[in-house]
């Protein structure tokens, strides 16, 4: 029997991870940091966490618990918290966490990850006795499952040195770009935040979601981070992706190149995006977009 361990830090994400973990073993045990009993796990070790420290302060104690229970395969999700927990736990266990965009379990465990900004895929074979995986969204096929949901309360002590002063929930509605049939992507070709209205007007006509390149989300902060596409952002497979003022760097393309049709509007006819587009318009978005929206 293979046992898979997960470290859960929120109820919804934790349960999704528990279901995904079943692809790698037949018994799923969760260390639940303030996330309660997970219905998708066979056993949840529930930990009461202090609201005064970030949950990652428990990483060391979690690692020691994993060692004590003989865990060999440990999974976290790929969120900011999941990654920090994975890195810290793995360090304490003496291994490197492996980020998995895909997992193959044969005689050995093989994991794929993107390298060089998505230019290539590296495949690693795990050779250490303990393995900590950071599971990227979509890396494992989740199997909806509800288990007996046994639980056991454990008490862990957080490490010192970090104090949570405040948590501000982010405003705005969250979006699932992966489900969108049509997506309009905006890039640095837009000179000002207000100009994004041109793209929004087009998106309304097309019935499309609006997404962006990374600098628009992390740089000028005109859009929330969950809306950027690419190797470090979301990966989409819509029927139509329309890239406006986006140069087409590989880090961006890797998030969109499974789109059925790609359209690009860019003022530079040598922009790399045109080599990856089905239909390209060489032109100034400020002139082309109003005309396009009008004629749709």
């Amino acid at each position: 029997m293979t046992e898979v361990w997960i470290i859960a830090h929120d109820a919804t994400g934790g349960n999704a991870l528990a279901c995904a973990a079943r692809a790698l073993g037949d018994r799923v045990v969760a260390i639940s940091l303030g996330a309660g009993v997970l219905p998708g796990a066979d056993l949840s070790l529930t930990v009461q966490v202090s609201p005064e420290v970030p949950v990652e302060a428990y990483a060391c104690a979690v690692a020691d618990l994993l060692s004590a229970r003989g865990a060999q395969l440990v999974l976290t999700d790929a969120t900011t918290t999941g990654r920090l927990l994975a890195g810290q736990v793995a360090a304490r266990l003496g291994v490197s966490p492996l980020t998995a965009s895909g997992v193959v379990r044969g005689n050995s465990l093989q994991v794929t990850r993107l390298v060089y900004g998505g230019l290539a895929v590296a495949t690693d074979e795990v050779i250490s006795p303990v393995c900590v995986l950071v599971v990227a969204p979509g890396a494992l096929t989740a199997e909806e499952s509800v288990r007996a949901g046994q639980s056991e309360a454990v008490s862990l002590t957080p490490a010192g040195g970090l104090r949570l002063v405040e948590t501000r929930a982010k405003g705005g509605t969250s979006v699932d770009l992966t489900g969108a049939k049509r997506v309009v992507g905006v890039g640095r070709g837009f000179a000002a935040e207000a100009d994004l209205e041109l793209a929004r007007a087009l998106a309304v006509k097309l019935g499309a979601e609006v997404a962006c390149s990374r600098p628009i989300a992390e740089g000028v902060n005109w859009m929330p981070a969950e809306r950027y596409l690419g190797v470090s952002g979301a990966t989409i497979k819509p029927e139509l992706y329309l890239a406006i003022g986006i140069s087409g760097q590989v880090q961006h393309l890797v998030g969109v190149n499974h789109s059925k049709v790609i359209v690009a509007i860019n003022s530079d006819k040598n922009a790399p995006i045109f080599a990856h587009a089905d239909f390209g318009v060489v032109g100034d978005l400020y002139q082309v977009l109003p005309e396009l929206t009008k004629s749709l």
């Binding site: 966490p97 994991v111 230019l119 590296a122 405040e166 501000r168 396009l292």
Partner: protein, 247 residues
């Protein structure tokens, strides 16, 4: 006070080419400091200037650092000195973090260790997380803003659906986001001064790898129609509208 900025040089991915067998060719790719590591240098410099601290850059790397242009580039952006730890640039996060931890311990007093959001080749976003654990210090990732307080630092940290404000005691290890600051562009004076800054080379004890690399291959290319129109905006927009309606 001393601040350490961890940086990695990797082949410039804009010049990596893909062969017909989907293998990567690095012959034209020059080593470059990862774009996100520049945020670590910038934050270190800005904080150091506030309190008159020293900024030491540390990189685990090999022959790429023989390149004087690369050294000058690193030193012209705000480092006071550079320590090169000989090691494999392809090493995994734990191997790299172990070498960095040893080098930082060797340096002596370090109050703040800053890292970028991710290296440009591996982008595992993990070296900082592991380094902090190895040094046994408070550790945070995804830090979007950082300021010095009386007893440590106060940071803003980005989560998927929230923003946290956290106080961390010094010494601490912090990985920044790409949006944490705008890295400076070095001027002529900085580049000239860079040539005179100290560079030390140290060696460390490598640890075992967690995984064995099986292959590195570019994904299969998707064939696109690559139809391109150019000219009067009204005409091109009409052509695109017709294309979209045909879908």
């Amino acid at each position: 006070m001393r601040i350490v900025a961890c940086i990695k040089a990797a082949p410039d991915d804009a010049d990596i080419t893909v062969g017909p067998d989907r293998s990567l060719d690095f012959t034209r790719a020059q080593p470059r400091i990862g774009a996100y590591d520049l945020n670590a240098i910038e934050a270190a410099r800005q904080l150091a200037d506030q309190v008159g601290a020293e900024v030491v850059g540390i990189s685990v790397g090999a022959a790429e650092w023989d390149n004087t242009k690369l050294r000058k580039d690193a030193l012209s952006r705000g480092l006071d000195s550079l320590v090169i730890v000989s090691g494999e640039p392809d090493a995994d996060s734990f191997q790299t973090a172990s070498l960095l931890a040893a080098a930082i311990t060797e340096l002596g007093e370090c109050d703040l260790v800053l890292l970028g959001a991710g290296s440009s080749d591996r982008y595992a976003q993990q070296v900082g997380n592991q380094l902090g654990a190895l040094l046994g210090r408070p550790t945070l990732n995804q830090v979007n803003a950082i300021s010095l307080t009386d007893s440590g630092v106060r940071v803003e940290r980005l989560l998927e659906d929230a923003e946290q404000v956290i106080d961390a005691d010094l010494p601490t290890v912090i990985s920044l986001t790409a949006g944490a600051n705008v890295p400076r562009i070095a001027g002529m004076k900085d580049i000239l001064a860079a040539g005179k800054k100290p560079v030390t080379q140290v060696s460390g004890q490598p640890v075992a790898a967690t995984a064995r690399l099986v292959s590195v291959l570019a994904p299969e290319q998707v064939d696109r129609r690559r139809q391109v129109v150019e000219g009067d905006p009204a005409d091109t927009a009409a052509a695109l509208a017709a294309f979209l309606k045909s879908l």
